[in-house]
Symmetry: C2
């Protein structure tokens, strides 16, 4: 009866405002009561001022109408403790779900915007743990906390030097001034074990439990794993074909044309179908039509105080044009500079390789292994440039001072993506388009593919393990001091795990893989096989990391993979260009031209013509394949139609019921001046006036 | 006091249901009363059955709740007359405005979705003629009439053979069975004169009164004239530059590179800025955010009876897959066939010209004028193919049996546009890409430009004049029979004008012009000048035609120029390709290459590289220039923010006010089972349970 008791506590709260003081009572033996599941932990600084803690708890608990969040908060093991555990009543969660515009399953099977007033007609709405997933509840709490605003405080209680302005978001401020050390959603051990059993701990290869992942971790994580699985499955045909070609030891370059055509079709179809699949997913999760929220400014957003043009609130305001100036005059040139470094790296690499080869053939005393020196140095250079530029990009994007987290993420992603693309593919483009050496391209592709995958897997798996081992020692030492609070201890140990670094690097890896496969794999048919093997391991590794190595992240209910969809589609377009070109310089075509006396200029003209035509067809396909599957569209239309009908019906009813009563008043108040004579003439000559 | 009296009539209606019979009273001397402005005229067949007419009038007038339209209808001059004049009360119009989701100016200056309940806070809502434009009112009436559905009639009263099904749209059906001859919105002579005075009758060149055009004719017409004006103005710099080049008699081909660059920039910037401008227009008209309506099926939509998957109504239902089969297996091949005709026409033309030239140089007895024969024949061929294919496309699209008018129009537009593009530009592409003869290209372009413009202007201006003259004679004959009803006569004469053929041909003309200018004008700098001169005449001519030569059309409140935006942007992309290529074959580049020993293959590689880079930049620009201007975005965000705040506030109030009252009930009914012991323990050990 966990749930029921939790609700009764929840529902009781607003009814007994007298008892509210007792919520903040400091001592409490039973820290993790079975009654209410703690959802979010706040970790304040070690020696937190009692006054500040009290104020913060107060603001979290008081009613919304006086500026609180109406959440439930628990002060941890004792008065001096720096942990707060936050939860929310069913009532508050459902209200927030309506405000956030969550879409939920209605009794008739359609998925519509949740309405608190109509909650009885939504499926499972009586069981909050079923109705809102763990991730949704935690995200709602995050959002509610983020929305607690300063009412009349002039400074943070207990810290008179930390001044506040009216309407400032308290949580942002506490994080900025380091009073709030960190806060994170809590794991649910039973759910986590269940999820693990049918996910990473499962012995056989099988599809992942995407819906459970959505419920436990939230939208974008589930979207990532779904995409990873989809991408891996979609590579299977290519991998099979590649294996057959290699197994029959057919001449690979001879199969170039066939493979190129396959690549082009594959890269188009895969991303179009994924778009449709992601719409189905987000429709079934109810995140597809969620209305956009007005996000709070990021914690690190700075600026002189000004009036926000949208909310008309007095808050830090940094004009957009200054940001644009920064982007165009600093960030873009620095990106170009780094691109220059990357390109000159490629240039130096090829020069050095040619020079060493020449030197080696002349001087026999030179060590043979020196031949590999340029390649190794180049890969090290590329990897270190990737790391370096990512750091620079983070600093730059931070300095650009974006107001919203989404805008920050988008700008960071685009910056890093452009650089990573050039840095990873420049050498391959140079070999294929300038040197036109297919053999070299094949060697380079194979070594890049194997090396980068090994490096990536090592970094991804080792770093968190090392971190855990190092942190693990620290925790043991602390543990001894508070043996009497095992539950709080568990929660604290969650807080000491490293923060989840986000999905950026994971998507980046897939992006580069997608590039290798669709741009150049016609040269090296085993590409798809290597990628598939890598990804099958990747799925389990990522799942394990997310479940056990990192702190649980706050994940917003995402509707799609965002900017990455565009990025992958761009690769699809590029694949047409590279594949057309690779076909035109393939030995088969060259032979054919030599036999038929076709000049290389004409081959080029044909290549360009075909390429343009294929691009046109690709654009046409992208337009003509509907993004949203027919059945989803139909359901959405049906819901829209019903709500329109309901509105019409309501209007008609109001017309009939009220109009007769209110008409007399309205006639006058509508500002219609009607002279007595007109009125009488109307009565008299009704036949004459009629309608006209 | 026109308006005020009209309202009083309107508002009186629902209050006095007894008087309703009198609305259909047949004789009425004063046909056009000053009290209510007739908005729409319905013309039934000549010998209309009295029973049918009575039934129709009844359905138009009765209340919505019993399936009527609640409009006002006037039976015309006598019982046997076949004219019905329809109008609507302020009340009904405002209700409909809310249902259609019209956006109107609020008291605080923002433009928000109109709400009838809140109407007092909207500017001008007390004066219906100010609040809703003439076009909006007429469109609302059209929409309301279209939505009158069969309730329990089994057949059309008076025509027992014409069976009906429940839920069938009556007006569609009457049109289909030719009982309703035609119906059209009526002109307002005073407004029309005022509009004409500051539009086509104005002596000086000046900007058009776009807002007045919107108010009188409606969204898409105003959008067209605004685009025409914008396009003409944006050509001014190009025209000036072209004139200077010609006036200084500089070598035109020498200026090719400069002109090409100008063209590329121009075609990108022009369409991006237009997109932003059109958003400003549609924002100020309130059509930008209008929610999409569930359109009624087109009149000509046929199919076996079935259940509509969205509305669940029993109505004709034609499965979408059959339509797709028709499109891909018949319409597309026929389009390809016609494209083949068009291309072979080009081929034959060039063969014939070459042959005649050769024949002429050999045989001196051949007439010199025979040299022009191929050109003349080819232009005739192109023109007749255009006309022929348009007819075929109409038949095909009709046969494809589209359910909605918009879908019909889109399919027709795309079909005709693709063909027209190939048919008009094939010769030019052939000359520039295959023959690579810049001199010939210039001659061909000049003759095409001048000839097509002359032909177009002649057709456009002569046909309606001739039609009017022919019809004019017919009307005079009829007029004598009903001299005693001058107002009805005027209305009838409006009905005898030709129907407005839509804006398709007008946009098509602009599309071809845009093609000439942005694709090839570097070869013939006077292109822009000719287009500007043509368009200045075109604006006045189109305005005159629309005001005086055609019946007033029903125009929906459009938010943009629809599919044409995409079409013009496509031309922009093509312009990069053609201009890059024209530069690469320009004499300047050839000279430079000859001097520096660059092979033509390398020139081609460079051209292709630059072209791809420019296309990438263009795509980047299109992404990075925001479609909606900042200030419009800000206002929309502000309105959204306010409504979200209002919702939050309402929820918080409900929480505080009602929650205490309703809580007890909800606690039980929410399905939360709470045992007595739990409850008592909660009271007892409040300190222990606290939140957790």
């Amino acid at each position: 009866m966990q749930v029921s008791r939790s609700h009764s506590v929840a529902e009781r709260k607003p009814k007994e405002p007298v008892a509210m003081g007792s919520w903040t009572r400091p001592t409490c033996k039973c820290c993790i009561s079975r009654a209410v599941q703690p959802l979010v932990a706040l970790e304040l600084i070690e020696n937190i001022n009692i006054e500040t803690k009290q104020w913060l708890m107060d603001r979290i608990q008081t009613e919304k109408i006086v500026g609180g969040a109406e959440l439930m908060v628990h002060p941890g093991e004792d008065d001096e403790g720096n942990m707060l555990l936050v939860s929310a009543s069913q009532h508050v969660l459902l209200r927030a779900a309506e405000l956030q515009g969550l879409y939920k399953l209605y009794k008739d099977g359609s998925i519509i915007s949740f309405s608190y007033r109509d909650r009885k007609n939504f499926q499972n709405s009586d069981n909050i743990n079923e109705f809102l997933s763990l991730a949704e509840r935690q995200f709602i709490i995050l959002h509610t906390l983020d929305n607690i605003k300063v009412v009349d405080e002039k400074y943070i209680p207990g810290y008179p030097t930390q001044t506040l302005y009216p309407g400032e978001a308290i949580f942002n401020r506490l994080r900025k001034s380091k009073i709030l050390h960190t806060f994170y959603p809590l794991h649910d051990e039973k759910m986590l074990t269940d999820l693990g059993n049918c996910w990473h701990s499962h012995r056989n290869l099988r599809l992942q439990p995407i819906d459970s992942i959505y419920r436990y971790f939230g939208g974008s994580v589930a979207m990532y794993f779904s995409f990873l699985e989809y991408f891996t499955c979609s590579l299977m045909p290519m991998a099979t074909f590649g294996t057959i070609v290699v197994a029959l030891s057919m001449d690979m370059i001879d199969k170039c044309i066939l493979f190129s055509l396959l690549n082009m079709i594959w890269s188009t179809v895969v991303m179009e179908l994924w778009k449709r699949h992601s719409f189905v997913l987000s429709y079934s999760w109810g995140t597809m039509q969620m209305n956009s929220q007005f996000e709070e400014p990021r914690g690190d957003y700075k600026g002189p105080m000004g009036t926000n043009p949208i909310t008309h609130r007095y808050q830090p305001y940094y004009p957009a044009w200054k940001r644009k100036v920064k982007i165009w005059l600093v960030s873009v040139p620095i990106l170009c500079l780094f691109l220059g470094f990357s390109l000159s790296g490629v240039f130096v690499f090829f020069r050095a390789e040619a020079w060493i080869k020449a030197y080696h053939s002349e001087n026999d005393d030179c060590w043979a292994c020196a031949l590999y020196l340029p390649s190794v140095l180049h890969i090290l250079y590329v990897t270190s440039m990737n790391v370096l530029y990512k750091t620079v990009a983070k600093v730059l994007t931070e300095w650009e001072n974006h107001r919203l987290e989404t805008s920050f993420q988008n700008h960071l992603t685009i910056k890093v993506m452009v650089f990573r693309f050039v840095n990873c593919f420049a050498a391959l483009f140079y070999i294929s388009f300038y040197l036109q050496d297919l053999e070299l391209l094949r060697k380079e592709l194979a070594s890049l593919l194997v090396l980068t995958q090994i490096i990536n897997q090592l970094i991804e798996s080792l770093v968190p393990y090392l971190h855990k081992m190092l942190i693990g020692k620290g925790t043991v030492l602390k543990k001894t001091t508070m043996e009497n609070a095992p539950e709080i201890d568990k929660i604290k140990s969650q807080g000491q795990m490293p923060t989840f670094p986000g999905l950026f690097d994971e998507y980046m890896e897939l992006f580069v893989q997608f590039g290798y496969v669709s741009l150049f794999s016609c040269i090296y048919p085993l590409t798809a096989v290597l990628v598939v093997v890598n990804n099958i391991a990747e799925i389990r590794m990522d799942a394990l990391k997310l479940c056990h190595l990192f702190r649980k992240p706050f994940i917003s209910p995402a509707a799609n993979i965002g900017v990455w969809q565009t990025a992958f589609e761009m690769i699809g377009f590029l694949s047409v260009i590279t594949n057309c070109f690779l076909i035109s310089i393939s030995p088969q075509v060259e032979e054919y031209c030599a036999e038929n006396n076709i000049t290389s200029k004409n081959v080029l003209i044909w290549t360009v013509g075909v390429e343009h035509a294929l691009l046109a067809i690709k654009i046409l396909l992208a337009f003509s394949i509907p993004d949203i599957p027919q059945w989803v569209k139909l359901r959405i239309d049906r819901v829209e139609y019903q709500s329109l009908q309901a509105l019409k019906h309501k209007l008609a009813e109001v017309d009939n019921g009220h109009s007769r009563v209110t008409e007399e008043k309205e006639k006058r108040s509508d500002g219609i001046t009607m002279s007595d004579s007109t009125e009488s003439s109307l009565h008299a000559s009704n036949s004459q006036l009629n309608l006209l």
